[in-house]
Subunit: 348 residues, 4 copies
């Protein structure tokens, strides 16, 4: 089989760079273009010296149309609002698109415009776009041209809660998600909020009651529930490079045991290559998934309060971005889903 | 006025050392004994070289009875189970006791023994002990001999939620506290869980549904509510030295505005020297209280879910331990409450 | 005595903020103006929320002339090149100036312009300016109007090596200084180099063979030696908030013992309030000076190579900037040198 | 070709675990035994949950003799003093040994016993052991039975300085190495020195003038020089997980340019797969090699002092331990040297 020709637009952000890292060891893909507006003409390995001696490619212009004729698939890692403008029917006739941004994740354009506060330019394509959470949309992903890769917080939150919602085991009006992220989730943008001395040795919540991943989680869990739902989502910034921990609270509808819950998780994830279910009494920690495509999930049934506490952990740049994007590419091109993703978490 | 003679038992733990740091600049107190079982006979400044040239005291035996005859007040910073054995009526006839441990915090000895899994040896004194949360128990503190200094998570959680509970603004069955702590909260004990390479670059929840600060929060908030309550409390370990962030969720009983809630907080904390209420849209971060005795509190009324999210931040070693202990000492000896505690948070 | 009226220009940088923190507890000084070009009109406690409830001052324009009429002393914390322009004879007739920048540290304007690559606008004042390393220039400092506060790396390096140079114990052509700094030393400026994810989990040397603190160290050690000298200085960026560790290497002129060296250090620093000499076999670590004005110094005589390794540690924002500036102010106004500087290092 | 059967003794230390991680993706090797005295009988993935779902092996007894009959090669990751006892002629008749410890690195047993302060039990095998620095001993490595894998500081230091010594470009009596390491280099042992709150937010030198890697560097550079040499080596502990930065100082014998030096480095490393030479003006940082087997090297010719500053960076657990061990295994078994080592540094 000929290798899949890959273009990356936004290749010099953290997610873009992670795709480059992952594809380096992917036996069926080759990168043909690394596009980055800010660094056009510069060696990629100057921008990211970890790639020195591994690639001699230069950063190219972000010319989606030209690239679509050359590549079999384009990964987009752009600020929101740009993808919806650049992805056109013409582009999609030429190649497949995997969008790591938010533009095609929400089906309801009003919800998008309300939370993101920008106009959506690609409404016609919204219907077609497939939400790329492989564990739940595998069959649709295989057939799609335009894939919306889920957000990092959302991947972790949705994977953690979906079995309980799908099985009707929790009161869907009671969901609270308290999530924590490493700083790479904020991207490589240069601002005071990302300054080492401002972030280090502190923890803060942000986007309290207003973070844009909220409607994405609500929409997807709503599909599981078969009805709309509203939840509370609070993200936090933690002084570490990578990792997301989503701690999810919900009221149980009945007096379930740990084993009852386990049966639900086994039903949906028992054969999933990238979901690992913890033993009773063990809980995920971000260190155990760092650098890998795994999502670890554990839970506690708190009989005192009749609540369940479900904890999920992922690497925000892998399962929360680049790794999931490659997993989606594999599905879209008929490859084994874990091709190039046999990554052991790196510890310490 | 003669200076208060202070003894510290458990002076070489992090909380003990912080008391030494704070009392160094306290104009009305002088340390007479630094006791530490593990380092008897060694210069204190060898154990903590930051104190080099500031003290030439040696670590002494932990002899409570002898010390009680010499000191006006003894700070106890011991593992739980020891204080209840060592504090006796005789000791209390000699001097006042400020216990930074858990032994005298819970009024119900059964609750204590259930959560701490040790026998309580000082049941007679439990009744007498005063819970040293100055903002709520000021008058009792002034008169007491035996003070139970609150835990770090609990100080932050109780201060954050008390006005809402006292005013009956939230459904007390809906309380969930998702709290995050720096590593100094785990103490100076040497174990794999505290190893730099195991803690750094990761976040985890621990004690899920079973942490010992849970009943302490429940008891104190119960006093505010006038009835017993049960809540969910999940602590986390964050790779930083100091700081606690408590993010508290509860369902509002009515459609309150931010201003309604502000009125409640102003009522209880408007004149408190160590509580700072955030402006609308601003939230506490642990970096802004580090090294100080402040508790910062902010909140969001989430009208979508009719929940309130209250966020509190303290320095676990100051307002969560040593600073509050000194604040209590000041009250117990008739000094202005902020004596020696005029600490500006150190940033960065 | 009336309090010293203090103005701070550049009050919203890290060094400026640290002066504010220190002066808050200084019994003989009061801040009259906090000037900051970037934040004019904003509450200082919005820029630095750690100061919330402690000051309600607003950030003012940086009007040196007006301020000089109001203040007894102005602290300047500005990028290099600005102070030499703003400090005039007229200003100095009105008040004293303590410049935390580099403009008045080097006596030779050619050396300044070569290393800093800007023109010097205050050549006439260069002669008058006093280099504010209290331990070595105390008497001159007491009498001066214009004080050049030493750099952070330089304070630590010069204090560490001066006794050996002054006593002629080392070959002055053999000096190599390998220094390490926390990130606050890079200032609060927003650039990719300061991004958390770029700095964290890495160490790098920078300014190799070209850092601007090199000629400052050479000039000052040259005064000790009574002749010019050239040395190698390599700074490093360490993923931590504060602290400088200077590890200095030199060849001994004779076979000295640890005790011989100790005699030299005791001679110069035995009575210094802010220099702490380590016992044999102990070496400074930045954690033991954090938040304080101490400089800790230790050394090893390596008989295998006939070299001495001298290690110094300071807090770059205190003894390396704001603390030393306050120490200088105390001297310039006839106060006890340690007024307001009785700071115990904060650990952990 | 049949896969190489690999046993690991000391599999639960950080270096041991890193071998497991690397071999997981090695196409020609399979692990047959994971031995660890402390965890016998426990699932390996309980000790290191990052391996969950990747291996179901249990930790086995450390029985070298039995294992030698089953395995083609044994990796030893043991505290010093143990390997010299356990590796026997009989064991070596059964299988090859790659020792990651120090016991077989120094040819002179007196030097070993002086610096390590233990008796050496395998003197007869010392002569036979090959020092496994692939870039310099490749041919000997291919033929050996007993391989001494270099230390982490030593790998970085020797690779950085060897070309200059071999070409006679520096005064070998002038060498000073100031090296910095992440905390994983201290191993997983539980002691106060490794406690997060003691290590974080600080930097310190340790083993000043006495670190055990000193004679190893001296011996190996001595081979390059053709004569014995003595140097100064100072290691430091940096608050990060991984990485070594070795900053090496030496006096140039002549007025060499950057290009002259480059020619020397190109001569020795121009074709090396795991050495990357920096462009002029660029210097290694540990972040760019993290997780990979690369050694990055850059240098500055400081004409002011006629010194050269050479900077090397490696990941201490990969090129400084497990990666180099696998590289050696590849050579010993006739495989392409980079088999299983095509690791892109993981950033951030």
């Amino acid at each position: 089989m000929e290798k899949i020709k890959v273009g990356i637009i936004g290749a010099t952000g953290y997610a873009g760079e992670e795709i480059v890292r992952l594809l380096h060891n992917h036996p069926q893909a080759e990168i043909v273009t690394l596009a980055s507006r800010s660094y056009v003409g510069q060696p990629y390995s100057n921008v990211y010296p970890n790639h020195k001696s591994l690639t001699d490619m230069l950063c190219a212009e972000e010319d989606m149309e030209a690239l679509s004729k050359e590549a079999d698939v384009i990964f987009l890692a752009l600020p929101h609002g740009l993808a919806s403008e650049k992805v056109t029917e013409e582009v999609l006739n030429n190649c497949k698109i995997i969008d790591l941004g938010a533009d095609f994740r929400l089906k309801d354009v009003n919800v998008y415009e309300k939370w993101y506060k920008v106009e959506h330019h690609g409404k016609k394509l919204l219907e077609e776009a497939v939400y790329g959470l492989c564990e739940w949309n595998r069959e649709d992903i295989k057939k799609c041209r335009l894939l919306a890769n889920p957000g990092c917080y959302t991947t972790c939150s949705i994977l953690s809660l979906s079995p309980l919602v799908a099985e009707g085991m929790i009161d869907i009006s009671s969901i609270i998600i308290d999530a924590k992220s490493g700083v790479s989730g904020a991207g490589r943008s240069v601002k005071l909020d990302n300054h080492f001395a401002e972030v280090n040795e502190s923890i803060k919540a942000y986007g309290v009651g207003s973070h844009r991943h909220t409607p994405e989680i609500e929409e997807q869990l709503g599909y599981r529930a078969g009805e709309e739902l509203t939840l509370t989502f609070t993200p936090h910034l933690v002084p570490m490079q990578r990792g997301i921990l989503a701690v999810c609270y919900a009221t149980l509808k009945e007096k379930y045991t740990w084993e009852d819950v386990n049966a639900a998780y086994q039903k949906y994830y028992g054969n999933e290559p990238f979901v690992r279910l913890m033993a009773q009494g063990a809980y995920p920690e971000t260190r155990w998934v760092k650098g890998s495509n795994f999502c670890d999930i554990g839970w506690k049934v708190d009989s005192r309060t009749n609540r369940i506490i479900v904890i999920g952990a992922i690497d925000n740049l892998v399962k929360g971005a680049a790794g999931q994007a490659v997993q989606n590419m594999n599905l879209m091109f008929g490859l084994p889903e874990n091709t190039g993703l046999d990554l052991i978490p790196m510890f310490p």
